[in-house]
Symmetry: C2
Subunit: 239 residues, 2 copies
Amino acid sequence: MNNQRYIECEQCNLFPICDPIKLGEYSYDFIFKQVDRRVFFKRGEVVFHQGDPANSIYALSSGTLKLSMNENNGKADESDRLSLIDFRFAGELVGLSSLTDDVYSYSAYALEDSYLCEILKDQIDGIADTIPEVQKRVITMQNQELKQMQTTMMLMMGRKTSQEKVVSFILMLMLRFRRQGLTETQIVLPMTRIEIGDYLGLTKETVIRILQYLQNKNIIHIQGKVLNVIDKKALEQIV
Amino acid sequence: MNNQRYIECEQCNLFPICDPIKLGEYSYDFIFKQVDRRVFFKRGEVVFHQGDPANSIYALSSGTLKLSMNENNGKADESDRLSLIDFRFAGELVGLSSLTDDVYSYSAYALEDSYLCEILKDQIDGIADTIPEVQKRVITMQNQELKQMQTTMMLMMGRKTSQEKVVSFILMLMLRFRRQGLTETQIVLPMTRIEIGDYLGLTKETVIRILQYLQNKNIIHIQGKVLNVIDKKALEQIV
DNA sequence: CGAGGACTTGATTTTGATCAAGTGTTGTGG
DNA sequence: CCACAACACTTGATCAAAATCAAGTCCTCG
């Protein structure tokens, strides 16, 4: 429960790599040697595009990103639907796949002013070769990402009503905020109703109507971007 | 293009680990030392349950599995919807997460008689500590799985009509069969219409009607479990 | 050969999309 | 600091897509 502007390093998912790794008599302090701290992106700016050379892993220190993919893998010129594949919140990682891929497989946009910590792939590669502990941590981080996606798929796919989807979305937000040590009952939504809809496969009207319904039932209170969860039990019961 | 009963080791996604790894003067031949080859599971049998101690990674030598998760993470006794999160086909991996998790995060069922190669977590751990190359390959394999899930999410979520979903599903099957060196134009569906529906978030009736429609348009021919793709271009055009 | 499950087909209903017409909100330039 | 343009959000009416309900037929395995 903090209201600070930045996620602390200790709360950050890049910490396993940034954290000084002690190996025998050696101690590498990557925080100051390897990481470009707090690169700034303004709202609407692109962190990287799908297809760009993948040179870095980022950790989101503060702010929110949305990740989207072009449907037709690459050729982006045509009238081409974008799908929103995920969001990233403070403390989460972006671009982990750059360790094994040459190019990014999705684009990342800042939904609000955001600070990112950047760590260059080359630098990780260099140290990973010599320190197996770093690779182990990479494996763990990738695994977390895999499980998160599994959970997302489970929540969103399968035969769900739009109401269940929206409620699942709120519960997922709460979970991810709580995991980073932030308050879970009052959430400031950084994304638009359209983006929520794109993510869930619903229209903005449907999203709005369901939020309205939940408000009428006194389960949540929503005013513009500010979402207050009043009755968490009720949300869980719906899903 | 082969019609053999088994995927060859060279086609298998566990090969990067099984493959003898040459490190300086050492050569570890894991195929015969470490891997229990071709464990058999009958149709309907469970390879492992969600929550079971995660002791092994499996590679599917032949057959098909379905992976499903309980919605309420663990307590399985209640009337509890299962969601089908993915399928696994010959040559693909199951349970990679056991490297970093204590228990499996999903259950795996054999949809048809299947042979699996099993490699014990302890054995990988042991060698991975000493050979960074093995860890690198694990990272690559995880990354492949991540990208596959991203693609699945992109195909299935987002605002798609049921027709687009079914067509995407067929194209995904073709891709995954081709990737393992199998024929892509004639596919024997190992799963029921209900399971396809569970995966796509549709009812069996909708799945059937769309397959029927595609058959009437002479794009596919489907007879029970046997699906022939007649006009691949047309399928791609729909998506 | 019989039973249970998988599959199919048609009729009806419901959900959520679409269309339309507004009302906030916000950020920028005069 | 205000005006206004652009965009986000809201609400209602209508429509289409897919779910549900119902009643079978077809496999397949014991």
